[in-house]
Symmetry: C2
Subunit: 260 residues, 2 copies
C-alpha cells in the first residue's frame, strides 16, 4: 500500500546518502541542514508528518539523540513543529490556531505556538448593549449597561486580530480595561471576579470587512477576513461575555485535529 509512510522511504534514503560521519560538521547539523533545504524548497510541504524519531534514526543510521537534536534545531528555527502525542510536522508560514477545537483564547493560542504578540486597547467604554447582545447576555431592559472593549493583537507589527468584547458591567464592576493589555480576558474574569467560563460557542465565517474593521486592522482593500462570533457561558448555563473577533485571513488559519 502506498500510504503507510508519512514521508516515503525513498525520500528518507535520499537523505541518508548525503549524511557522512566523516565530515567535520556534526551529524545533527548535516541532518538539520538537509531537512531545511527540503522544507525551504517546498519538497516537504507544510503539514507533512515526519516519521517517528526511532524510525528516522534507523533509516538514517544515526542515534535517536542525533535525530532529536536536528529536529530541535528546526523547531527553534520555526520550520518544524511538534504537536502533543501526534508527531512532528513541517510548519507553515501561516499562524495556526486551534481555537475551533479547544477552549483557549487567541492569546493562549499564540502563547502555545511560541509567537510573540502585542495587545493594544483601542477603546473601552460603558454603553447600552445593542439588542442582539443584550439578548445573548440576558440583560434586563432596566440595566443594559455593558463594558465594550476594542483591542488589537499584532504579530510582527501587523494587526492579526481585532477583538470587540462586551461584558455586563454588573458582572465585572470597576474592570480596568488596561489590564486587558497584559492579561487575558478569561483570566481576569476568573481570577479577579470569580467568574469561570465553562463553555463557548464559536462560529466562523469568511467575510469582506467593512471600513471600520479595515481601518482598525490597517488592511488593504480586498483582504479576506475570518469573522468569529463568540458567546461564553458559565457552568450554570448563563452567558458571561459576547465577542466579535476579526482575523486576518492571509495570516491566520484555524486548525483542528479531529479523532473519530
Amino acid at each position: 500500500m502506498a500510504t503507510t509512510q508519512e514521508l516515503n522511504p525513498a525520500a528518507i534514503r535520499a537523505l541518508t546518502r548525503q549524511v557522512s560521519p566523516a565530515e567535520a560538521e556534526a551529524l545533527h547539523e548535516q541532518i538539520s541542514q538537509l531537512m531545511r533545504q527540503r522544507i525551504e524548497s517546498g519538497e516537504w510541504p507544510e503539514h507533512l508528518k515526519l516519521p517517528a524519531e526511532p524510525e528516522l534514526a534507523a533509516a538514517l543510521n544515526v542515534s535517536r539523540g542525533t535525530v532529536r537534536r536536528a529536529i530541535r534545531t528546526l523547531i527553534e528555527a520555526g520550520l518544524l513543529k511538534q504537536t502533543r502525542g501526534k508527531g512532528t510536522f513541517v510548519r507553515g508560514q501561516m499562524l495556526e490556531q486551534e481555537f475551533a477545537q479547544e477552549l483557549i483564547s487567541t492569546a493562549q493560542s499564540l502563547d502555545r505556538e511560541g509567537v510573540e504578540y502585542h495587545t493594544q486597547v483601542l477603546s473601552a467604554r460603558v454603553v447600552q448593549a445593542p439588542s442582539h447582545i443584550a439578548a445573548h447576555l440576558g440583560l434586563r431592559a432596566d440595566d443594559l449597561s455593558v463594558l465594550a472593549i476594542r483591542r488589537t493583537r499584532s504579530v510582527g507589527g501587523e494587526v492579526v486580530y481585532l477583538l470587540d468584547n462586551y461584558l455586563p458591567t454588573a458582572l465585572c464592576p470597576d474592570l480596568s480595561p488596561q489590564v486587558l493589555q497584559e492579561r487575558s480576558l478569561f483570566g481576569v474574569l476568573e481570577h479577579d471576579y470569580g467568574v469561570t467560563v465553562d463553555s463557548v460557542r464559536r462560529t466562523f465565517s469568511a467575510i469582506l470587512p467593512d471600513d471600520d474593521v479595515s481601518t482598525a486592522m490597517a488592511l488593504r482593500p480586498g483582504v479576506p477576513v475570518l469573522y468569529l462570533e463568540q458567546i461564553s457561558y458559565q457552568a450554570n448555563g448563563g452567558s458571561v461575555e459576547y465577542s466579535d473577533v476579526w482575523v486576518r485571513g492571509d495570516r491566520v488559519r484555524i486548525s483542528s485535529w479531529i479523532k473519530r
Copy 2:
C-alpha cells in the same frame, strides 16, 4: 447578577401576558406564534439560548407538553434548533456546520441539519499527484497516480461547497466516481475498500477565490470563501486522502461548541 438567565425573566413574563387559555386558538399555537414574532423581528437573535422546557412551562404557566409542542413547531419551521444535551437555540439563516470539531463530512453535517442538498461530480480523472499532495499521501516517485475528483454540493440551487479530493489509486482501485454523487467518500472508503478514516487534520482560512474556483462555484466577484485543507489518516498514522474544499462564506458558518 444579570447573566444567570439566557432569556431574561421579563421577556418570558411578557410572553405570559399574551397567552390566554380562554382563546379559541390552542395554547401551543399561541406560544409558537408569539415566539415566531420575536425571532422574526430580531428581538430574539440567532444563537439565543431558550430556557429549559420545565422553566419555560413554569414561567408561562402551561404544561411541559404544550411548551414542547410549540417548540417542535418552530424547529420544523427552521426557526429553532436543538443541540444534543445543550439546549434549544434560535437558528440563524446561515448553514452551521460542526466539522471543525467532529469527524463528520460536509455531507453528514448537512444531513444532521436536515438540509436537502445535491452533489454533482464535475470531473474525475487519474493524474500524477502534484508534489505537495504526493508528499502528504506518502506516494513513491514510481507511483504518483491519484484519482482526482471534483464535486460540488448545492443547497437551494446554489453551490455552497466545491470539493477536490485526491485518493491514491492503489488505495481504491476501480472506484467509480459516480458513486460519490450519492454516497459519502468516507463511507465508500470504509464499506467498499475497508479503509477507515481515524483522524483528520483540517485547516480553515478566509480567501478570495481564484477564477477557477469562482467559475466552478458560480460566485459573483468579491464573495469571500472559506478554504479548508483536509488530510485524512488511518489508525496506523498513514494518510488516506487529501482534499481542498472551498465553502461559500456568505452561506456557511463553521460552528464549535467547546467545553472546558
